[in-house]
């Protein structure tokens, strides 16, 4: 989820596939597009990895559909309560929901792209404070506030984190743990 050549997350997001429909015949190269047969014709359904899709779409070789993780049904669920949606289920374990979504937005026309980006941003904002709470609860000083407010939904929420969120969770947990260990450490000398 960052603009670095060496970013592993970008790499992961780019593996996600976009459902597409061919707008021209492809003779002999079907396997390159992930199909079983080598000759494909106009209207054939293929699913193209995100790293390849922009070029093909820009060249008007194919049409694509909004992939399932970003369809209306999901948007409605996010609208109702972003925290209760399991993003990890939408993109498979270890998947990048935000990264994938941004790549999809990048190939959409402007108004659709803006709408999808708004969904991504709003979802992120609505989840990340809870995410930090949970991480601090599991790494930090036991506190009377914090994760208690989530009750049993905490475990569900954690399992529903997608990859970027998991990385953030680990960052917050690591910090909270470092602070807790520091508070617990001592320089007292036994006399």
């Amino acid at each position: 989820m960052d603009a670095d050549y060496w970013s592993f997350e970008s790499c992961l997001a780019e593996q996600a596939r976009l459902p597409c429909t061919l707008k021209l015949d492809v003779e002999g190269h079907g396997h390159l597009l992930g199909a079983n047969e080598s000759d494909l014709h106009v209207g054939a359904k293929v699913s193209i990895p995100m790293w390849l899709a922009p070029t093909l779409i820009l060249n008007d070789w194919l049409d694509f559909n909004i992939p399932p993780p970003f369809m209306q049904r999901v948007k409605r669920a996010l609208n109702a309560n972003a925290r209760s949606v399991r993003l990890s289920t939408l993109v498979g374990n270890g998947g990048e929901w935000y990264g994938f979504g941004k790549l999809v937005a990048d190939v959409l026309e402007e108004s659709q792209a803006k709408e999808l980006q708004a969904v991504l941003l709003t979802t992120f904002k609505e989840r990340f404070v809870d995410l930090m709470d949970q991480a601090q609860h599991f790494g930090g000083i036991p506190s009377s506030a914090g994760a208690d407010s989530m009750g049993d939904t905490g475990a569900d929420f954690r399992e529903g984190l997608e990859m970027t969120e998991r990385e953030l969770f680990l960052l917050a947990q690591e910090s909270a743990k470092a602070v807790r260990l520091w508070y617990e450490s001592t320089d007292r000398k036994e006399h």
């Binding site: 960052d2 603009a3 670095d4 050549y5 060496w6 922009p54 070029t55």
Partner: protein, 246 residues
Amino acid sequence: MSDWPTLPGGSWSNGHSHLPSPSPEPAAADADADADADELALDAERADAVTLLVRAWTGERCAPDVRAFEGELVGRIMGYLDAQAKLIGVLKVDGASEEDHEKIGLVQMEMDRVGWLLRSYIATRQEKLIRYAPYINATPAMQTRLSVAEQTLVESYQQIFEESLIRDVVGNLPEELQALDEVLPDGRSMVSQPDLDKAVFIRAKQDCGPVLMPDGSSLEIKKRGIHLISYRVVEQLVLRGEVELT
């Protein structure tokens, strides 16, 4: 050893020994001096050579890019450490009083502490130098921020890194995959650059004029204000010392 001017009226050991004095007495704390509120007095900080080193350390740790090397300061502090070490050696040989022992303990502790700060400062820079070596080598403006030793480090590092990469990996790949400076269609480059848009925490030492945000709006940064903000937006304020990275 006697580079350090001894100020009249202050030797560190009652005339038994003659450690050179470190840099001249610190000037009064800069921005914090114009205390206008109780809470500010709570945060009055020192303004001596070690404080400057602490600021350099903090700045280097918090800034996404490599900052200008504090060569003069590092040299000054190294000279002092050297002189202190020699004099402690002399004192120990001559046999020291109990009071001297106490002072030697403190001076040694300070040397350890300042030595750690120096090493950590240099190591922080080295991490960035290695991470961004190809970029630095290709960017003369960056090289001016480095000490001579650091420039040598960056050049040698890149040479060794590329030799090993070519020998062990890239050399065995098809020719079109051998580039070490590939740029992807979306603009991401194999040559990593410091991300100047990265968010940093700043603490304002004074009221700053409005700063221009990426979306064209402007932001008022008030004295003592703490903001999480893109480094690029406040870089000039940081360089001018109006805000501190923290």
